[in-house]
Structure formats: structure tokens, C-alpha cells
Subunit: 179 residues, 3 copies
């Protein structure tokens, strides 16, 4: 069984949406990221000591902007997509994340992985993220080594400054580690 040309095109375009999401998040290109979500997007991110549940593009954009701010040294590589078309304008995707996160204010470093399970919907000819959830697979947390220098930090200049940030703690449940 072969895919149709339309199906292969859709798979490529859905991959582009998620690629842009990760790139836009780590570079604070928020206008790019905003265009990748449906208005009614929902997320459920189950991490080490946290769970993020949010719905609606506006709330999720607030969460992202205030997570990847000027004190966040962040890299998110979402790899190995498994895209399944479930309808003419609907699809599901599985992605495997590797991420590095340094919190400059706290001096902490997190290295981890996660499996994303997403749903996509085509609206006005554009594939968009309608739902995204992940479970952490590994997560290693420690202090950033005192002899490590942050020699490049894009978000320092592009991310929200302390005085520009909003409180997003109501979107996060801090849990005991469930590793």
C-alpha cells in the first residue's frame, strides 16, 4: 500500500508545523508559534515535578512566553515523528523529545526526554496543533556546574524580561516526583 500524494504532502506539512513550534519556542518567535495552534488547543504536559494543563491558544501562549523567558536557556529537539492521518483534516503524531533547560536565576540544569502525543487539525488549509501532551521518560536535574559558562543565550535578549512577565503558576501543578 502506498500513500497518496495528498497524504505524503500532509505528513510533510504536519512535520513542518511541529518543527516550527520547537524552533519558535526556543527563539521566542511568538508570532510564528501562535499561528501553529488552533484556537481551542489543549495541552497536558506531565513532567518530573510538574504537570501543566491548559486550554485555549491565548492561555498556552502566555504559558510559553513566561516559561521560555530571558532567564531560560532552552533547547527542545523533537525528533522521530510518527504521523498518522485519521481523517481528511485530522491527524495524530508521536514525537520523541530531547531537551536541555538551564534556569539562570536558580542555577539549575535539566536534561530530559519525553514522548509527545499530539492531534492536528487542518483549518483554512493550514495544519495546526489541536492537542499536545507528553510524558517524561527520563529527567536529570542538578545544579549547573560552577565552571560552566553560558557563552551564547539567545533568549536573554529575545525572551520576556522579569518586569514583562506574568504569573503562570495557576497553570502548573507541582507534584512530588512520580519518576
Amino acid at each position: 500500500m502506498a500513500y497518496t500524494l495528498q497524504q505524503l504532502s500532509d505528513i510533510e506539512d504536519i512535520k513542518l508545523v511541529k518543527h516550527r513550534y520547537f524552533r519558535g519556542m526556543d527563539t521566542a518567535e511568538w508570532s510564528l508559534v501562535e499561528g501553529l495552534f488552533t484556537d481551542d488547543v489543549t495541552v497536558d504536559y506531565r513532567g518530573g515535578g510538574y504537570r501543566v494543563q491548559s486550554s485555549g491558544k491565548s492561555e498556552i501562549m502566555t504559558f510559553l512566553k513566561n516559561s521560555f523567558h530571558s532567564d531560560a536557556v532552552a533547547m527542545h529537539h523533537g525528533n522521530m515523528p510518527e504521523i498518522t492521518l485519521t481523517g481528511d483534516d485530522e491527524a495524530e503524531g508521536v514525537w520523541y523529545l530531547f531537551d536541555i533547560f538551564v534556569d539562570k536565576a536558580r542555577g539549575s540544569q535539566t536534561v530530559g526526554s519525553a514522548i509527545y502525543k499530539d492531534r492536528y487539525r487542518r483549518e483554512g488549509g493550514q495544519w495546526k496543533i489541536a492537542h499536545s501532551e507528553y510524558d517524561r521518560i527520563i529527567e536529570l536535574v542538578g545544579p549547573l556546574a560552577s565552571d560552566t559558562q553560558i557563552s551564547v543565550h539567545w533568549l536573554a535578549t529575545h525572551g520576556l524580561k522579569p518586569e514583562e512577565r506574568q504569573d503562570i503558576r495557576h497553570l502548573i501543578t507541582f507534584e512530588a516526583n512520580h519518576g
Copy 2:
């Protein structure tokens, strides 16, 4: 020269097989992984201090289950596929691995890369891994830093517990480092 629709479909499906392999291995979804191998699959993994040579799906599944067990904190990202169709039902693939492995029992951490060279065969309409080998390109080994906390560890609950494990040392040749 363009690929045919069938060829592009085959390339996408072969990528999915390997993506599922890495995801299944790191999450101990062994029924998923088992379906990705031909019965006569062979492997030859040439690492830093080890070489794994094994043949047959059953033996290789034993190796995997007993390597990625409840003390293994593992992430394998196989990226940058180069798939070449070599026949209607045969293909080759090159992949570039990045992996992190923490052995909780030993307190050691390995970070490394490897180049995979695989062969695939279509059986009953499904692409499967018929042969897989890799050479390590870089491998860095040291103790897990004492101030690093493992805050999520999926295999701790999903991987084989000590009393469930089998001895697989006969599948591994421990070598002097050949880096």
C-alpha cells in the same frame, strides 16, 4: 529523477519502523519492538568497551529487555535517516544516533553517538529490520554527578526488575577500548 509514490511511501514507512524501535526500546514497549524485527534479524553493535553480536528475534529481544531494565535510564535518538531502496522489498538505512545512558546500579553515565547501518525487508506488507549494526563515533563515560537527581525514570517501573532478568553476558564481548 523523481521517486515514485511507492518509493516515497516505502521510505516514510521504513523511517516509522526505526522511530518506533527507539521509542519502544526506551519505554519497554516490547510487544511493539518485537513486531519490528524479521525472525532472522542479526545485530552487530560495536561500542566503546563492548561488542554485541546476536541473531534471531528471540535472542535479540532477550538482549534488549535485559539491557534496558529497571536500573537503566536510557534515551536513544536516531536521527538523520538516509534510506536507500535496493529492491522491491529490500532497503538499506543509515542513521546517526545520540544516546544518554545512566546505569543506576553502577552510578555511571554514558553520552555517545553512533552510526547505524541497517538492512530492511518487507514481509507480509510490513517493513522490518533484518540487520542492524553500528559503530560508536564518540563515547564519554563517567560517574553520574552526585548532585544530579533522577527526577523521572520511566524504565524504573516499566523495565525488568532484578529478579526478572536473564544473564546476557554471553552475547557481549567486553573489549579493551578501541576508541
Copy 3:
């Protein structure tokens, strides 16, 4: 809108070019890498404390061979491609890099990310890299931990030995960190 078969084929082939580039660079397969560039290729790499500007295949090959030499422990994973066809024989690509670099002579370790913006041109039926530039997004630099062992190091045997190397400092501008 669907892509044509030719467009999807071109996108796959362009991905292969960049995949081979990263693999060839980290394994010193210079004859492979050389075939991936147009003769008039230009690069502009904006890193933490450096900027590399170079033009012409010959000069860029000299730069690469003398950067990824026998003291370089290197891994470059270029992921999440966003390929845009801009003409029958022209295309652009965005890639998100994750890299690890240990300088054995200096005992330093760099972990970082970068966004590549490339241009590709088809010549004689082969897609090639005509221009490549990147900006670092994060870069963490420190000493390699004294208790970390380099247990595999492919370039030690495949990369240029000290007496084989050429001076490439004229291609690099060393800057104050602009992170």
C-alpha cells in the same frame, strides 16, 4: 494543496544532502562532504566567541578538515528540517542543530544549539549546499570533567594529525561573547 511527486522527491533528496554533511563531518569522510557543496559555496557561522566566514569549496573543506581533526571529539545532529523549494533547481532550508564538542588538547567541552539557514542548488542533477549560515541559540562551555573518560573517539584515528594540519585562523574572527 499537495506537493508534486517531484517536489516531495526534491525535499527528500535535500534532506539527504544535509544528513550526509553532518555524518561526513563527524567521521572525516571528506570525499563524501566535498561532493555536497557547490564550487562557490559560502558559509557564515556565528558562534559564541567566534565567527567563521568563508567562500569556495576548497577553502571550506580546509576549514572543516582542520576543525574536526584528531583532537576533536565531535557530534553534530541537525534535526527538524524545514525545506522550501524556491525554484526548479533552488531551495532553502532551516535546520536546528544540537552539538557536542570536546577539544582534547584544551580539555574543554562545548554543548550547544544553532539554527541553520541554508540555500541549495541543483547542479548536474544533484542537490548541493550553495550557502550555509547559522546563529548559535545556546552554548555552554566548560572544562571536560576530570573523571570523564573518552572511551570512543573516531576522529582520533580518522581526523588530521597535528603535523598534517593547516592554520585556519584567518577564516575565524574571535569575538567577545555576544550571547
